[in-house]
Symmetry: D2
Subunit: 295 residues, 4 copies
């Protein structure tokens, strides 16, 4: 069965009177049906944000038109309206589109298994198109999941080449999102520029505390009573990208570093999975170094 | 300074295409400015819910008109539109209106102090117009807060009379909301009918577990590892009204009944305060035996 | 490398002066070294509970003796002391013993994968000796984990026979614990009597609310703002056994039954895994219908 | 009624075999009764920590002796034993002793009211002996609570003098603990040296993130999805002292700085109250820059 055509628009721009009405009115005037609409105003910055999801009437009318043509035409029309009349920036998505996702992983496999199992349970509207690792240890299990595995070792000396190979795989597989599922390598600015698509990372700490390496060791040394995990978009500055989601767990003096790492694994899994899900559902709008999450 | 005129409408009714656009369009066509709009669909029941808050243009235009007249006229016009054209049920409120609240309390005073202190800190858009207790112990402290205190003892024999006196006070003080801040008496159906305004209760358990009396003793006897608190609207059926908010805390075998009660006090305070705040901000819409909370 | 010999004793019985000292003194007098000791008093019931873990000196002294012989002899000696002199009930365990665990599962596989992956990550001191399901769908993946899978369909007509086959497998595999990882069948009293070892279940609700079937549907119908999961030992009375652990998550009117089920899966995984871990580490002491968890 | 004599000892020192038994044995040999005993080993550092609470037999035997004399004599004897034979550091306390507490506060009054109301509800084994503020706004309400209020303004120019006056009040009132209930002034090293007793502060952030001023503004600017509060002992280095307790709350893009501040107030109240309670119950042992909390 063809899924019904529903579109999502993520809009933002200078606040002005009547934006909600004008967006809703545009959709209604074309006999579309709004399924969800959520908006936010950053009063200090004077910025208006909106996520609106609707079913265009075209999907019923133009029986002859292909699904793709309907989406294409409605999306262009709305983009023209939003950028032109409303002077807003807009990102459009087809709700039914299954984004193509590449997972980068190192030796630690808990986030990897968690993402794949959730995906197989139907939690993510996505295709996993590549699993890329700098270690070989997950090759068999990845193939057990019927997913393509690419072993690309990375050393200081080979990093430039390794990233080229990674980019080639991303290009060939049509990846639209990279998820760093505890991938312990820093991606270069060149890589990020060349990929030019979102990259989500899970940092095993509640940023901005304990940025950098070995955060559980840092947390233990400081004697904190809480540990956290942070999912964020990757930018050129390590651990400084827009935060999508954070979680925490209470700890005590009884917990050694090993316990923090073990509890942390649960946090990392949940926080990363939630952030990925929101991204795939087109619920996350980045502006400046922050996110608006329409959950 | 006169506060700006902003109105809130809480709407619900059968779902139909274009509701978001028609509501927004109506407001926009009168040069109003939507500040917040949030909606929800219960797909199973086919019901549409919306909370919309806007600044009517009248507040700028009709310089001569009183604030009250502007609110009155816009509210009537919108109600006519919503009930008539849209066939929706609607409840209108003036955002700046400080609801008149009566607090009912027994001996336990933690929720009482908590509500009053939050109110004094400016957390609630409300006036506390009466504190009514079946015990005298809070008379002095209530007067210390400059609030009117009414001591109305209640026994099985005097209950009918006591409720009459309570109703008289509510009527005279113009109360629009009763908050049962650990008031340990059950209100009769007659009382609820006569008051005919919302009553919020805090039940010291996560309903529906441990309804009825002495929930912490029940919880301890069952050996649960969590305790909770539930804020709900009061209906004729004890502890069965629509739930507004719930909270929980982890407990262990080390916690005796006294500890559960002590931890419970914190939960009760927070859960009740949050529910009252949402109610006062016109964020809670009741339908059937449930609530939609536009938070 | 042989693991060091460490023993755990779980004691309980009538409270009396000097119990802590007498237990510690007995161990010390035999040159043992206490690694952990934790105790609890139920003042109302007058019951004393203790978990003590120690390294017997014998492990250093009797070089000739086998590990098993050392454990055996120290455990018997302590049991004689605790039951005789102290008049306490005692359960002894070798800390290094990897308990033999059978997992029962139906179609829903999230708890199953979660347990197996945690076990492979080294979180559980255990061997998984059998995976038993009334459906065949997990046969391949279980074999992919190199674990023995037994498909035993269960219908009302075949239940008695099916339980006999299950018991035979448990006996042959030497299972010391059964974990019901969302196994949707009720075990008969006969089965429980015959197995005579602990059985841990995950109930997808915060008991005692929503006992019985389809708890997420019940929760949704009641309009609760929290959902929970409860891990408990199985007794003859459905959903009434001693609670080991409970977890909750906040939900809103936006969450349909499907969302509750999805959020619930995360809760179920974590709550069950934590309960199983505590059990395997000999941290759970059952008395009456409650547990003392020495965490 | 004279409360029963119970003593608490907080011990720590190099780990050695038999410590649990020797402490328990010492108490038992004098016919004392251990009520609670909890211990912890920092394996890396090789340090043993213990909190033991017991009822000395003397309290029953020496009918003639005053309560104070009994406590004094048992405490000295235990200290001699612990420091001498065991080579441990020890801090002794009389469980029934109501510590004398001074509260320092600035304009924000939520933690102040919270502490006083909990104290009046019997949650704290303490006497509040002084309320000291650099502002006069809480004078009346403090007197309403029948507590002594001292208004000591602080400017850069008068700080040295102001601290002298504060110290004089602490000395006269016999304060054994200072609680900084959102006191917005930094205490000088000289003050801390001269007072030479514990000072507990509530920092409105989960340290080490957002140390320093205006943490809610910092958090908002960074776009975090969690805010926190940290109760810690005050040391010479601002916001770097041993952490006693931390709490967090989830926030979203919808929360402006004002909302963070409002939610933060709840966190601050709870986290500070819990830390103060643990301290008053002699449950907190500081070592290095960390705490062991025997909860």
């Amino acid at each position: 069965m063809t899924p019904p055509v529903t579109l999502v628009a993520l809009l933002h721009g200078p606040d002005q009177r009547g934006l909600v009405a004008r967006v809703a009115g545009w959709i209604f005037s074309r006999q579309g049906n709004i399924l969800h609409a959520d908006q936010h105003r950053d009063k200090e910055a004077g910025v208006f944000f909106q996520r609106v999801e609707w079913e265009p009437a075209l999907s019923r009318a133009a029986k002859g038109a292909s699904r793709a043509a309907v989406v294409e035409s409605e999306a262009s029309a709305f983009t023209a309206f939003a950028c032109g009349e409303l002077q807003m920036q807009v990102r459009m998505a087809d709700s039914a589109h299954r984004k193509r996702v590449a997972i980068f992983v190192s030796k630690a496999d808990h986030c990897f298994h968690d993402l794949v199992l959730r995906w197989r349970a139907g939690d993510f509207t996505a295709e996993i198109v590549a699993v890329i690792s700098n270690h070989a240890n997950l090759a068999d299990v990845t193939q057990g999941y019927n997913l393509p595995f690419y072993h690309i070792p990375v050393t200081a000396a080979t990093k430039v080449d390794a990233e080229k190979r990674q980019l080639a795989i991303l290009r060939e597989s049509g990846a639209e999102l990279v998820v760093l599922a505890r991938y312990m390598q820093v991606l270069s600015a060149d890589f990020l520029d060349a990929f030019a698509q979102p990259v989500i990372n899970i940092h095993h700490s509640f940023l901005p505390a304990f940025a950098g390496g070995k955060p559980y060791h840092q947390a233990h040394a400081r004697g904190v009573k809480l540990i956290g995990a942070t999912a964020h978009y990757v930018t050129r500055v390590l651990d400084e990208g827009p935060i999508i989601h954070q979680g925490v767990a209470q700890v005590t003096h009884r917990h050694g570093v090993d316990d923090l790492i073990r509890y942390g694994r649960d946090l990392e899994k949940q926080v990363l999975a939630q952030a990925v899900r929101w991204h795939l559902e087109n619920r996350v709008l980045v502006y400046g170094n922050k996110t608006v999450v329409f959950d």
